[in-house]
Amino acid sequence: MEVTTEQNEGVTVLCVREDRLDANNSEELKAELQRIFESGSKDLVVDLKEVLFIDSSGLGVFVTGYKNASTLHGTLKLANLQLQVQSMFELTRLHRVFDIFISVDDALQSYK
């Protein structure tokens, strides 16, 4: 699982550098999110611009991350959802749960 992370005024931005997020690699992202929360970050934006496909395992990772962030009184926001990814969030009604932004900048702006 290739990811990059950066800090922006107290918000961690994690970019998933994979074109698929499925049962074959979702556990690695789950562990990465867990590591970020354990390191003290509580506000996280996940940039999904490179993810063209997600399955229910991938969705489950974000559900876990959302719950972990809520436990810490933090947030997990999503940005740059591609067509199939957006469709999957809508199909499973998770778009009603997550704050979803068209860009990372918009997501970061929401913290100000």
Binding site: R20, D22, A23, N24, F53, D55, S56, S57, L59, G60, V61, V63, T64, Y66, K67, L83, Q84, S87, M88, L91, T92, R93, L94, R96, V97
Partner: protein
């Protein structure tokens, strides 16, 4: 459509080949005589269905033995697209699987796969037998 297509794929019972099977599904959809937009939509749905069905067989039907194999059959006919995923695991009761909870306070990280299959396909059945089990998913074509 140019010709009916019937493709069989046998893969090991692990998640390493999800992408490969998805690509085969995408190529099958290219054989349809329909708009590029319709092909793109069906292709995306088929990749999703193949992935969810395979993961279901691997993780939940109990097909995780080292020699466990999963047999996938994709049939594209005049009026429908049929995906069958055969496994030799313990199987499960499809009707006993509820829809996921949509409320933020009750939502779980698992339990959306079958819901997704049911949402994207017109008919989904899972049949258990001594010889093996089959998840059959049918999509009527426009």
């Amino acid at each position: 459509m140019k010709n009916n297509i019937d493709i069989e794929i046998i893969i090991p019972g692990n998640t390493r080949h999800l992408r490969l099977v998805g690509r085969v599904g995408q190529q099958v959809v290219q054989e349809l005589d329909c708009s590029e937009e319709a092909k793109e939509e069906l292709s995306s749905q088929l990749v999703t269905v193949l992935t969810e069905g395979l993961v279901n067989a691997i993780k939940y039907a109990g097909c995780t033995a080292p020699d466990g194999q999963i047999h996938v059959r994709i049939t594209l006919a005049e009026k429908n697209l049929v995906v069958r995923i055969y496994d030799t695991g313990a199987g499960f009761d499809l009707d006993a699987i509820p829809d996921p909870c949509f409320s933020p306070c009750g939502m779980e990280d698992k339990g959306r796969g079958i819901f997704i299959l049911r949402s994207l396909m017109d008919r989904v059945t899972y049949t258990c037998s001594k010889e093996g089990n089959v998840l059959e998913m049918i999509k009527e074509l426009p």
